[in-house]
Amino acid sequence: MINQLGYYSLVFCVLFSLFIITKSTRAIISKNSKFDGIYYNLVFLQLFLVLFSFFCLVFNFIVSDFSNVTVYNNSHTSKPLFYKISGVWGNHEGSLLLWLLVLILFLFLFILNSKKSENGYKLLTIVFQEVIILGFLLFIIFTSNPFEYLFPTPTEGLGLNPILQDPALAIHPPILYLGYVGTSLVFSSSLAATVNKSINSDWAKHIKKWIFASWIFLTLGIMLGSIWAYYELGWGGFWFWDPVENVSLMPWLCLTALLHSVLVLEKRNSLKNWTVILSIATFALSMSGTFLVRSGILNSIHTFANDPSRGLFILIFLFILILLAIIIYFSFEIKNPNPSNNFFWLSKETAVLINNWFMMYFLSVVLIGTLYPIFLEVISNEKISVGAPFYHKLMVPFLIPFFIFMSIGPRLKWIKDKFTKINYYQILILILSLVISYLIVEYSGVKYLFSTILISTSIFLFYSSASDLVKKNIQFPQKISHFAFSLLIISILVNGIYSKEINSNMKVGDNLTFMNKKIEFKSINFEKQDNYNLLRGHFEISEEGKIPINFQPEIRIYDQPVISTSEADIKTNLLNDNFIVFSLLKEGEVFNVRYQQKPFMIWIWISLIMLAFGGSLALIKK
């Protein structure tokens, strides 16, 4: 019953979409300047239907209705309630329903928020967004129906992967989707404004908040994914250049570029074409992400269940949307009013251009790195891996000029700035940065020569953005976010250079000496929990003159499905994370124990939150 209600709500939504598209297209063609209040109602009803459908699925999960295939595949009666609910979007069908929900929600909010905007523009945005919504509806109904029946009804489900039973991972998809879907609205809106010939600073002012909102959610979403990887996977890393991670990073880089270029559009009515191109590209990247993760073309730890027919649908859908965008962009020329629309080299506009230049470069590295193995295999049937060394080698050297530009750029004036007297103080700081980084490199034995320059430029950036915090003539949100970014860089660098680890096979009673610490494997005990059994290891790490610390990592053995995972015990403080994880070796008595000391981990998370916080300040500020 609930299944059918959920399903037919979606079918009704299709009718609504078709009706809305037809009605608004007619209104546009007839140049009807009245914006009928009916659009509010139509979209609201559509939203209501999808919300209802979504709650039907949630209900099915909560009551463990295994007559629903999706619930059967992804849930279990013994799952805690919180994870039953998060299981709704922890699978392909449910996550698409969530995508759809957010798509319609954002359209509705857009209509509410655009009361002062021109009618032609509003109607066009609705058309484009509804085309996307229609595509997703059809995709769900025809290939990814979350309301499929299973008969006879099984008494128990197949259970959710235990690795996914984690709080960070539970909220990671919704937050990420808010980011992705936000870009759809920017896409629709930019196409609408292009057709309407209204790409100008008013449009920029209006669309800015949607760009910022998407960016904030995307930043937080990516952060949550990294937090999950760090705490849950037990490998001690937070970024692996895994294709699915890259696929979330790409729209983020594009969105960061867009965020900056839209400011130029707002302030100077310039960079019109580029801003529209970025808007299209960002959404294309978000959608490609959806495709890549679900089509089976990528293999990684977090792809969804693979199904080529689904992949084909998204591929064609994406192709149509991009084709549409290309045709519109080339058909409706965006005119620049100001003939001398060029920038002075020492100006904030040029600084933004340089930011975009680097963002696009980093984007191209990630894009090419992710797609190249696929293309190579298609052409020559050879398989290669593109892993972390590739990304580091191509990106890290470019960080050096990037940091220097970022130290100067935000302070430049609009239109034209000039070099005032040389600031001796700045040069002193630069020299001090060089000295400190030289000492760091010397002591830590990091091999690359340019590490010195890299560290010194990031220290310089840190100082610049920190001192900007107290300057009066710079916007507050910008100060916070830029400082947060420089803090993020410093934290990642320190973490990368100073992390230390050791791993060894140990039996109970063994101990290990590492640096000046003694790691003792004291004992092990067996415990039973709700839906898993666990082996808890007791380790004591003692350091001379300090109180010994106890660690209790676990090996969890789940019963539904049968998987065993290692849960690290991580002790965090402001300076370091101490990390112990152990796993059972085949022989039974011996365990592989891995201890890591990771400096500044918490600052990575803090700076990311601060980064998003700066963005939200910009949002509130208007």
Binding site: S340, K383, I384, P389, I429, Y443, K500, P599
Partner: protein
């Protein structure tokens, strides 16, 4: 105000230095450093170093044996690439088939730079 701020910033950074560098121990074993560069072929996204699967353990033991027999890092990489193909290496080699992979981003970077140069220098001076 500014000077106090600078002082705090740099003390903070010196603190990092002191806390870590005295115990700087980067004697990561050869087996570890080699296995970090190898993909565990039966795992999803783990390196041979990270993985505790049978395959990974065998590879690590083999690396150890080959080091003891006097093989260089490169010998070991070549041996494994010969047996499993290039994709066991995380870093794509620079050869005929990966040339485009490494060069294309750089070409795009130069191209982007030229565009900006045109906009901010040449065109500006032309029209001003």
């Amino acid at each position: 105000m500014k000077k106090i701020f600078t002082l705090i910033t740099f003390s903070f950074l010196l603190l990092i230095l002191i806390n870590n560098s005295v115990l700087a121990d980067n004697n990561i074993s050869k087996v570890d450093s080699i296995s970090k560069n190898l993909r565990c072929l039966i795992c999803q996204g783990q390196s041979v170093y990270d993985s505790q699967s049978e395959f990974a353990i065998s590879v690590k033991d083999l690396i150890k044996k080959k080091i003891e027999e006097g093989n260089s890092d490169n010998d070991i990489y070549e041996y494994l690439k010969n047996k499993y193909g290039d994709w066991i290496m995380y870093e794509p080699e620079l050869d005929k088939k990966t040339l485009l992979l490494w060069i294309l981003p750089l070409i795009l970077f130069v191209f982007g730079g030229l565009l900006i140069f045109k906009k901010a220098f040449i065109n500006y001076n032309k029209n001003v």
